[in-house]
């Protein structure tokens, strides 16, 4: 177990592609860090550099206080779980798990004991003599885990280990991996593109985009206080509704102009974010979480008139897609690319113009697509971002 420090890590491929840019982060001893980001953000490249499977172009990588840039994988004392599991198909489950130990010439008795222990931990004891081809996806995944934990490695690296499992198994393994890591206390770096995994598993989450680290913070902090528009849009399901608004502060009154609507902004909101004060009369990007929009009026909420564009009854809640006149955030100009998966069909709706958003309402809300609706926005929980840089205004 060890602390891992990345300092100004760069990866430039031979074809000139700059996959990882100046990545600096510290993973504390025993910490579970999740690297998350859309496809092509450099998270897997970063992990492979840590594993020693990819050369580090520039910067230093230290594990346990020792710079390991030029050490081959086998000397880094790390264990890795691959997205594809990469089991040795000609070996039994037991041999697969014990391979790393056998390579290190550990005595047979020790290997057998450690393999048995790992198998018990992962509920694989009855399958030790089977070949990988005879196992189900979930079992193979556990064998891959077993191969990692049996080694007493200083560092676990996991590259989207759950992405080949079905939805139910994924939820189950998510919990199992998290609790296993808790039990073993091994420093872990976990790569995923699934932000639910990121939110639920990690002690801290590092969000990457286009090779750059956007923000690194505990999951809740990431959700509550995103550093920039990209993180705001990427973290959270359904995604945060982002739009341009004109901020006007006159004496003790502040308001937001969105399209032809006006939302009064309590001064408390301005006071909590001092940098907003200087931006009176200017445009800002405003973000609102789906759960901060309500169907009913209450103290601190402002009315927003919208047109319902989509309803999704999830049982425990209803996701309402809506649109209203205004200026949506130009993702390309900000280069933020929000979320890759268009699960709410927002891009199709965006063609119609106006701002597209999603609200999470209590279940059994009766509404139809095309209906005009007044929603109530909790102004105190809005997020503000700079129009130019996309950085959070606090």
């Amino acid at each position: 177990m060890a602390e891992m420090v990345l300092t100004d890590i760069d990866k430039v491929y031979e074809n000139g592609f700059h996959a990882v840019k100046d990545l600096s982060l510290t993973v504390a001893d025993g910490e579970f860090l999740v690297l998350v980001g859309p496809s092509g953000c450099g998270k897997t490249t970063a992990l492979r550099m840590i594993a020693g499977l990819e050369d580090i172009t520039d910067g230093t990588l230290a594990i346990g206080g020792k710079v390991v840039n030029d050490l081959p994988s086998r000397d880094r004392n790390i264990a890795m779980v691959f997205q594809s599991y990469a089991l040795y198909p000609h070996m039994t489950v037991g041999e697969n798990i014990g391979f790393g130990l056998a390579i290190r010439k550990e005595p047979k008795a020790v290997i057998a004991e450690k393999v048995a222990k790992a198998a018990e931990l992962l509920d694989l004891t009855s399958m030790l003599d089977r070949k990988p081809a005879q196992l189900s996806g979930g079992q193979r995944q556990r064998v891959a885990m077993g191969r990692a934990i049996v080694r007493d490695a200083e560092l676990f690296l996991m590259d989207e280990p759950l992405s080949n499992l079905d939805a139910k198994l994924r939820v189950q393994m998510r919990a199992e991996i998290a609790s296993l890591q808790e039990k073993l206390g091994t420093t872990t770096v976990y790569v995923t593109h699934d932000q639910v995994e990121a939110m639920t598993m990690g002690h801290r989450v590092a969000v990457m985009r286009l090779g750059e680290l956007q923000q690194i913070a505990p999951p809740q902090e990431l959700y509550d206080a995103p550093d920039n528009v990209f993180v705001a849009g990427f973290i959270g399901t359904p995604p945060m509704t982002l739009f341009h608004a004109d901020l006007v502060i006159e004496g003790d009154a502040a308001r937001l102009h969105v399209g032809d609507q006006e939302l009064a902004l309590p001064m408390g909101v301005i006071d909590a974010r001092p940098s907003l004060r200087a931006l009176s009369g200017r445009e800002v990007i405003v973000g609102m979480r789906a759960e901060d929009i309500y169907p009913t009026e209450a103290e601190g909420r402002q009315a927003l008139n919208v047109v319902v564009t989509m309803t999704e009854a999830l049982g425990s809640s209803v996701h309402l897609g809506f649109s209203f006149a205004g200026s949506p955030v130009d993702e390309a100009r900000l280069g933020s690319g929000l979320k890759n998966d268009d699960e709410h069909g927002l891009s199709a709706l965006a063609a119609e113009g106006g701002v597209q958003g999603v609200a999470a309402f209590p279940p059994r809300i009766q509404t139809r697509i095309g209906e005009r609706l007044t929603m109530w926005v909790d102004m105190g929980r809005l997020h503000f971002f700079d129009v130019e840089s996309g950085r959070a205004l606090r």
Binding site: A51, G52, L53, P72, S73, R74, I78, A79, M80, F82, S84, Y85, A86, L87, Y88, P89, H90, F99, G100, I103, R104, K131, P132, A133, Q134, L135, S136, G137, G138, R140, Q141, R147, R151, L157, N164, L165
Partner: protein
């Protein structure tokens, strides 16, 4: 849906008995092609078997079923001191086995490098291997002859007229096609398996011996078998480099039986050829169990 008959798919009517002409048009001609191909392939083998058991057969008089079967041809093989068939047999098996073994090893090593490493000259190297392979090995016969004679002056055990030298010459041509063949197979083994083993602590060597070679067993078996057969059959180089009767290989030695214009010994020749086929058949049956698909199944994906 199950109760509704879908339009466009009427129930299949009871088929009337097919006429022979129709049967032949649809299916029969395939049988005919198969039978012709079988005759074409089996006739020479049957002829050789027949001749081997016939007393003094000739090309014209030999028949597939000998009228008076005899083992004389086989006894001749092992009793003529001028033509030591047993010696040739051992020579050939030794050369073929060693050549096949090291061919697999050399080609697999080259294939591993070409498949798994990225280095300067990789593409050029691959193309070069292919290009060299396009020239038959005996084009270089003169050069090989001179090299072997000169080596013989310095280090006789692997020089001219030795089995060691002959084996080395065969191994010189081992990489080419075989390296390509094995590389193609290696490329289908997911690279994650290598990477996983490396992270587990394996060196390149351990990955090669412990992971890749076992998984590539089918192609290694094929290459080994082809190399074994090819070496047994090879005549041109062997006949140029080997002169002492006791050092000859089967191909060269057997040719001696039929080389003289008026004393063609087809009997011992066919008998000897028949015996030479035995180890090949045995090796094939042994290797057959390795030539199976799906060895990498279960490694990646669910």
């Amino acid at each position: 849906m199950s109760t509704v008959t879908e339009p466009g798919t009427p129930p299949i009517p009871q088929q009337p008995r097919r006429t022979f002409a129709k049967w032949f048009r649809q299916l029969g001609w395939r049988h005919l092609v198969t039978i012709l191909a079988l005759i074409f392939a089996l006739y020479p083998i049957l002829w050789v078997i027949g001749a081997a058991f016939t007393k003094n057969p000739s090309i014209t008089s030999g028949s597939i079923i000998p009228s008076t079967p005899t083992l004389d041809n086989f006894t001749t093989l092992f009793t003529n001191a001028d033509q030591p068939y047993g010696r040739w047999y051992i020579n050939t098996m030794l050369v073929a086995a060693i050549t096949a073994f090291f061919t697999v090893l050399i080609a697999a090593g080259a294939a591993f490098a070409f498949s798994r490493f990225r280095f300067k000259g990789r593409k050029v190297g691959l193309m070069f291997l292919l290009l060299v392979q396009m020239f038959p090995q005996f084009l270089s016969l003169v050069a090989i002859y001179i090299i072997m004679v000169n080596i013989g002056d310095v280090f006789p055990p692997i020089g001219f007229d030795t089995l060691g030298g002959l084996t080395l010459v065969y191994l010189g041509g081992a990489m080419g096609m075989n390296a390509w063949l094995i590389k193609g197979f290696f490329d289908t083994i997911p690279i994650e398996i290598d990477e996983s083993a490396k992270v587990d602590g394996a060196t390149h060597g351990q990955v090669f011996w412990g992971i890749i070679l076992p998984l590539a067993a089918p192609v290694l078996a094929v290459v080994g078998l082809l190399s074994f057969i090819g070496t047994i059959n090879e005549f041109i180089i062997a006949s140029s480099l080997i002169q002492t009767p006791g050092t000859k290989t089967l191909a060269v030695g057997l040719q001696g039986f039929i080389a003289n214009k008026y004393s063609e010994n087809w009997g011992p020749f066919t008998a000897g050829a028949l015996l030479a086929a035995v180890p090949v058949v045995i090796l094939f049956m042994f290797l057959q169990k390795f030539i199976v698909g799906g060895l990498t199944q279960g490694s990646v994906k669910g």
